[in-house]
Amino acid sequence: MLQIKNLHAKIEDKQILNGINLTINAGEVHAIMGPNGSGKSTLANVLAGRSDYEVTAGEVLFKDKDLLSFSPEDRAREGMFLAFQYPVEIPGVSTTNFIKTAVNEIRKYQGEDPLDAVAFLKMMKEKMKLVNIDQSLLSRSLNEGFSGGEKKRNEIFQMAMLEPSLAILDETDSGLDIDALRIVANGVNTLRNENNAVLVVTHYQRLLDYIVPDYVHVLYKGRIVKSGTKELALELEANGYDFIKQNVGEIA
């Protein structure tokens, strides 16, 4: 599904990613953890195609295609989805209209006919249940005046509607209380299957109690310094990132 090879990236003059290697197969859930400033969000944003970041070396294959040559919209159309850490408020654009436009732009790219109003509404209703999102929220302007939890639920709702093959959740747990966290995690778990994959970027182990990863990677100073199974997350929770920093220090 996704192969990241020796990825280097910088923003302005600041080098942030220093050679990331990571392979994600269909059906897998990977978690990326790491202290503040280690490059977790940068990785998520570079994959989604944010233009503020410049890739200085390396390559990324997404379904065997050169991901980095695609525009952000084409990455989404190819099946990549970034759940934003800070979803943007867009006054005047209704959430429903926005999602409908997105669904149909993706369908067009994939050579399918646009969904008609009836089929779209049916799909909306189904997916709304999944993340427990209210109709009234969807008729409002996109994210405008939404609470933190509503914004994150809206991200997962969009993910459900767009049915991506790779979902990247960028600190989706930040700003969520425990109930909202459960709803969001439940949504993600329901959408998981053997054909798609999830990359969870998070600070804390907490989210991983609900979205159980197959692999956990620790990012530090722009490199993956340790990989393991879900037990690694528990270890981090117990010992903090200091032992990683020390270990890396020793290696260096």
Binding site: R50, E73, A76, V88, I90, F98, T101, E105
Partner: protein
């Protein structure tokens, strides 16, 4: 031939033809006024960013001053695309044509000349009132040349369920054309009316419309005014809409400029009675070389009035937007509430906007605010939309729609709003 000589000749032949005209002394005076002032240049403070003298000078002798009382060869007058209309009033080449208009029994419509006999008081009180606020050569030129002007009287207690459309048709097929339409609308006590001014042009030669519309609104009346400008780049316009709120009443104005050559809109709101309420909205959605200038005045002459002004602009290509909003609060106008805001989005490096909100306050117990912004499309919002698979063009269109919608939703007649939305859709999704 120089433009001024051209005007002189046109005025001479007009006075020979129409020396019996009731308005002759007024014309004469206005013409002298014009001779003193001429076509405004960028040295004139109110014309700093809008150059019209080059348009008239370049056009040179070719400008055909339509004879203000007679228009010939009227065929194929384009119909308005609306079914819900109370009245359709037609100007051809700047001259009001009753024969082509659709009238009804409830609203009185006649020429200014007839009105000066039938309603001398209204004429005396309101015709030419705008000259107290707009003191430039263009205003004088209109008064000097205005031909068969339009007078509309919406009598007491009349409530119209559809808008009155004033359709300005110009024909600059063979010759360049300079026209001077003039209207006075009186909305009497307790009446409710929606007025819409629209423009269409046949031909490809330069066409210059220099227009004055004066409106007087009486006690407890409600007046909505819409101006829609969507013309080709060879059509230029200078227009003044001057609204006197004589009694305690409500007005709501929306000016929408989608295309054209050089367009200048003066909109004045004179709040003469306590507790008057007035709203002014504007949208200019420009590309190519279109230049749109909105100059507004709100004059608070009485206490306890409320006014709200909100103009938005989107500039692409080499287009140029100007906003100049002036609010006067006279000493007597205590407890005035006056708000003004102007927001602009520049889409290209070659587009420009000049915005100047102004407040002049002589009373000490008032609430006033004004502000303006100029920016680009929000990068974060663009990325968010793209990250959901929405392409660059669609993403832009979505954001611009959202930006424009705040003004478009102020257009109350449903049919007109739909029509404007379609024009904007076409522009944003299929345009350059």
């Amino acid at each position: 031939m120089e433009f001024n000589q051209l005007i002189q000749d046109a005025f001479n032949s007009l006075t020979q033809e129409q020396s019996e005209d009731t308005f002759f002394p007024i014309r004469q005076k206005a013409y002298e006024n014009f001779q003193r002032q001429g076509i405004p240049t960028s040295k004139h403070e109110e014309w700093k960013y809008t150059r019209i003298n080059s348009i008239v000078n370049n056009a040179n002798a070719a400008f055909n001053f339509a004879t203000p009382f007679k228009v010939t060869g009227i065929e194929n007058i384009p119909a308005l695309p609306f079914t819900q209309t109370a009245l359709q009033l037609v100007f051809v080449d700047g001259v009001f044509y009753e024969e082509l208009s659709m009238l009804n029994d409830t609203v009185e419509v006649c020429s200014m000349q007839q009105a000066s006999v039938r309603y001398p008081d209204y004429i005396k009180k309101h015709a030419g009132h705008s000259s107290r606020y707009i003191k430039d050569g263009m205003q004088a030129l209109n008064t000097a040349f205005a031909g068969n002007g339009l007078f509309v009287l919406v009598p007491k207690n009349t409530v119209l369920d559809a808008p009155i459309y004033i359709h300005h048709i110009t024909r600059s097929v063979a010759n360049q054309l300079f026209v001077q339409p003039r209207s006075l609308v009186v909305v009497e006590e307790n009446a409710q009316v929606q007025l819409v001014e629209m423009y269409s042009n046949e031909g490809t030669q330069e066409c210059f419309t220099n227009q004055v519309t004066e409106i007087a609104v009486y006690d407890q009346a409600r007046m909505e005014y819409y101006k829609l400008q969507n013309q080709a780049s060879h059509c230029h316009q200078v227009g003044t809409t001057h609204i006197q709120q004589v009694g305690k009443c409500f007005t709501h104005c929306v000016t929408i400029t989608l295309s054209g050559g050089t367009v200048r809109n003066n909109l004045n709101l004179v709040l003469e009675a306590p507790h008057n309420e007035g709203h002014m909205y504007g949208l200019y959605l420009l590309d190519g070389q279109t230049h749109a200038d909105n100059h507004t005045i709100v004059d608070n002459l009485a206490p306890d009035c409320f006014s709200n002004e909100f103009y938005k602009g989107i500039m692409d290509g080499k287009s140029n937007g100007v906003f100049n909003g002036k609010i006067f609060v006279r000493q007597i106008a205590q407890k005035t509430n006056a708000y003004q805001s102007n927001k602009n989005v520049l889409l290209s490096d070659t587009a420009q906007v000049n915005t100047k909100p102004q407040l002049e306050i002589f009373a000490d117990d008032v609430k006033c605010s004004h502000g303006c912004t100029i920016g680009r499309l929000d990068d974060e919002a663009m990325f968010y939309l793209k990250a959901r698979g929405i392409g660059d063009k669609k993403a832009k269109a979505l954001l611009l729609h959202a930006f424009a919608e705040e003004i478009v939703e102020q257009v109350k007649p449903e049919e007109l709003k739909k029509y404007i939305e379609n024009l904007i859709n076409e522009r944003l999704e299929f345009g350059e």
